[in-house]
Amino acid sequence: MNWPGDWLRGVLEMAVLRVLANEPSSYGYAISVALDRNGLGTVKGGTLYPLLARLEQAAHVETRWEAGDGGPGRKYYTITDSGRSHLESAAASWCAFAETTASFLRAEAPGIPAPSPATTVPAG
């Protein structure tokens, strides 16, 4: 299933770090496939690589190039300690937000109290 892009944008950084936390190291297309297999839908290269560059710039991942065995060379990403702690804290916040949102969206009562009507001042 392909989720709305707006939803995915909020969670994609954590999802990519989660993929990297589960693997010793991985490369762009493999990360994209892992996201798809875990139900996050197809993430195009044009979305994934700017995010990976941002993670690299923030030192949440380390990279190394490996020559391909008969195929293209690949840039491998490995999560750093800073990336792991960022993932833990961001994931905890996200889960709390998601639970709050889910519980609010499912609740039928109590509703939000209606705002009191604005006081109108007679003209003149």
């Binding site: 994209s32 290269g45 690589y49 700017p50 941002r54 710039q57």
Partner: protein
């Protein structure tokens, strides 16, 4: 060194992508990385770059976190030393003719037009740096500039200004030497590096030759002019 047109990506997409990143002063190493990554992703996924990444310039714009070189290597700063050298060359040749003939410098209309074309080209780069970072507008602008300069020099020989020889020679020499020194300071030769290949290191001789190309070219042109009859 990595030539964007020698990857397995479509040549136009790869060239526009590399050029768009270069115009933002992204380092050669980071451009090489991005090119090879795009190449690997397309090979793995079986997608064309347009499908996987979208238009080259837009994708380059989205890569906002790539390392960039110092600000002095902007395109305007990159072409300014060459423009100064070309201006020196344009003034040096009629000054040399005047010195041989023992008269004042008669700046031909073509020389004046060339100086204006150079100034206009640099101004266009300064005012609209983003417009002319794409391959086609860049090539059109540079081609028009070169065509305009060469045509003007060849066709517009009538003198439009008379200048004293010694000050003209000093200005021309100053512009040429200044351009060489400026080139030496700004020429970083930050070539696009193949992350899977050896790190290219341009030799010092090559750097010197590149920086002093216009002053050397002027001397060569003067040497050739020695064989022409005095006008």
């Amino acid at each position: 060194m990595l030539d964007p047109t020698k990857t397995t990506l479509p040549k136009q997409w790869a060239s526009e992508f590399a050029m768009a990143l270069r115009s933002r002063d992204v380092t050669g190493a980071a451009i090489g990385d991005a090119l090879r990554e795009a190449e690997a992703y397309c090979a793995d996924s079986g997608q064309a770059p347009l499908e996987a990444f979208g238009p080259a310039a837009a994708y380059a714009d989205s890569l906002t976190d790539l390392p960039t070189a110092a600000a002095h290597t902007s395109w305007a700063a990159r072409i300014a030393p060459s423009a100064l050298g070309l201006a020196g060359l344009t003034l040096a040749l009629p000054t040399f003719d005047a010195w041989r003939a023992g008269r004042s410098v008669q700046l031909p209309l073509g020389g004046l037009v060339t100086l204006l074309v150079i100034a206009a080209t640099v101004t266009v780069f300064l005012v609209w740096p983003r417009t002319f970072r794409r391959a086609v507008p860049f090539l059109i602008l540079v081609s028009l500039g070169m065509w305009g300069s060469v045509s003007a020099t060849a066709l517009l020989q009538q003198p439009v200004a008379t200048l004293p020889t010694v000050p003209s020679a000093l200005v021309a020499a100053g512009a040429l030497i200044g351009s060489g020194i400026w080139q030496m300071r700004t020429l970083d030769m930050d070539v696009i590096v193949d992350p899977l290949g050896p790190t290219p290191r341009p030799g010092r001789g090559f750097l010197l030759l590149t920086a002093w190309l216009l002053p050397i070219g002027t001397l060569v042109a003067m040497g050739i002019a020695m064989f022409a009859p005095v006008r």
